[in-house]
Amino acid sequence: MTASVISAESIPGTGRAAQGAIELRQVSKHYGDVVAVDGLDLTVQPGEFVTLLGPSGSGKTTTMMMVAGFEEHTAGTVLIDGRPVDSLPPRDRNLGVVFQNYALFPHMSALENVEFALRMRKVPRAERRQRASDALERVGLGKMGGRKPRQLSGGQQQRVALARALVFNPAALLLDEPMAALDKRLREQMQEEIKTLQKSLGITVLFVTHDQDEAMAMSDRIVVMKDGKIVQSGPPEEVYNHPITDWVASFLGDTNLIPCTIVERNGEEAVVDLGGLGLARVRDRGASGENYAVSIRPEHLKFRTRATAGNGCAAALVSSTNLGATVRHRLTAGGHELQLRELSSDRGTRILPDEELWVGWDADKAQLLVLES
């Protein structure tokens, strides 16, 4: 059953099996003088889960729409499984699309929604019914086939949209902010379900979101976009821990940005002068710009004793806020304001107002980056 839903069906007319490789070469989209997407190069490997992450207006949805064929790019080439699809209408691109509001057909039942693609492909009625109910079964809605979309909850509607996008064995799945309308708990559940489904089918996914947590939780690779360009691309941990600009660092979560000057660069590592905090050894990705800073995530700052070796400095506590699972401390050190986050369970004793504190961090958790602003 697992194999039958996403069996190696060939792309119509090519005789080749659908692998699901997506490639964008120098793809641009201009609306008059406005550049929405600017010379994008992106390769998505077969079976890879790639997330386009960026704020609104970064061109991520436009990029996805160009892959789907709903928007025409003004320059460049889009290839699916090595074949240029620039002149193909959406119906011939063999891609499953899930929209932000699911775009389920309100006048059709869940089953009819899922059947739609098979009906368009002239699949005989009996086989169509069978494949559509199998797809609904797969997303856990086997008994809901007769319901209209308005009779389904948000989460159920999304499952129908997923089944509808998968039932015709598309080369890849394009998801445009599919979780935006769900509440937090359901969103996390659906993230896991989509990830599990994607792994079991081995299908390529191009995912669009502005939610960095969602991107972190689901992606094999995150492509961070800003102003129509790719700023940084890599596995979630790498992009999170080793951002190349302060903008990426801040967009992916809270961080401490400490302006610095470079003393010595040495491949993967650099020695920097952190002003009031002294010299420190940090990770370096070789990015160059005018001004530099070091980014240390709040959870990578630790309370230490002065004796412990490594990077560190004396600090004074400004405030502590208990956030439930974690505690956020605001500190001042060497004229900088720092944020330190630790698990509530790690905090045995209350910090006294006049207590002498020493904070430190591991060299590989401090990242040298370019200050954009």
Partner: protein, 295 residues
């Protein structure tokens, strides 16, 4: 003791909610006053004359008299067939215009809206005579047809049923365009995108998505246009032939030529009852269609 404690709160309890309820009741009691002007207006100017008319229709054996008149039967059949034809043509044309409006850019949309609304604001007599000028034997349409050699002699385009339907459709179009347009604009654009991504051609998108989802607009337009059609009076006179008279023309004939007011009243009641029955059947059929879709 227990009796006393039980009873003591009672009068308080009775009086307190009583006085509390009195205030909202007093506030609520005047609601119908707001309806009074329109009620008075309706009773004096609409319901009373209507009642008098219905009463008059039962005098002098009027129903039997008018229904034995072959011209009346003919006019009734004309009314139904002309109205039905005009409704179908109007809804189809209106749908096309609404689709263009829906898909048009802002500038085109504004211009088209003006074109649709202009006849709406023009008197029906003006519109009908304008058509009469266009469609007459030496009118611009016949001149054009002869000019391109499609016909040697003028085609009779005026004073026939075709002309009546043309004149009526022109007047009725806005009533079809607006309900259909509003139902089209309520369709989420992404449904069309989704259908295309699932393999649908433009024709399938229209047939399976746009058309079914705009059915409420189509049925509203159909109903509105049909009801208005049955009351047309000027257009058959200006543009029709002797065989294209509708029921309103017969009412006029009975009232003014024959001064048979009970006959005219009977005709008016017959028209109203006939249209009401048709509307009820229409809505029943629509509802059944909707339920069928659900299954």
């Amino acid at each position: 003791m227990s009796n006393a404690t039980l009873e003591r709160p009672r009068p308080r309890g009775r009086s307190a909610p009583g006085s509390a309820e009195a205030a909202p009741r007093r506030r609520r009691s005047g609601w119908w006053l707001l309806l009074a002007p329109i009620l008075a207006f309706d009773v004096v100017l609409f319901l009373t004359p209507l009642g008098k008319l219905v009463g008059a229709s039962f005098a002098d054996n009027a129903y039997q008299r008018v229904l034995e008149d072959p011209l009346v039967v003919r006019a009734l059949v004309n009314t139904l067939t002309i109205s039905l034809a005009s409704t179908i043509v109007t809804v189809v044309l209106g749908y096309i215009i609404a689709m263009v409006l829906w898909r048009a850019g802002t500038v085109t949309r504004v211009i088209l809206f003006a074109v649709v609304l202009l006849p709406f604001w023009t008197g029906i007599l003006v519109k009908n005579f304008a058509w009469a000028v266009l469609l007459q034997d030496n009118g611009i349409v016949n001149a054009f047809l002869q000019g391109i050699g499609l016909t040697g002699a003028p085609i009779p385009l005026l004073h026939n049923r075709f002309a009546v339907i043309v004149g009526m459709v022109h007047c009725l179009l806005p009533y079809a365009v607006f309900p259909i347009f509003s139902s089209l604009t309520s369709i989420d654009d992404r449904l069309g995108l989704a259908a295309r991504s699932l393999g649908a051609r433009e024709g399938s998108v229209f047939r399976r998505i746009t058309l079914p989802l705009s059915m409420p607009g189509i049925s509203a337009a159909g109903l509105l246009v049909f009801i208005i059609s049955t009351g047309f009076f000027i257009t058959p006179v200006v543009m029709g032939g002797p065989g294209d008279m509708m029921i309103a023309n017969q009412i006029d004939y009975y009232a003014r030529q024959l001064t048979d007011f009970s006959g005219a009243a009977a005709l008016a009641v017959i028209l109203t009852v006939m249209v009401s029955i048709l509307v009820a059947v229409y809505q029943r059929v629509l509802k059944a269609g909707g339920q069928h879709e659900d299954n």
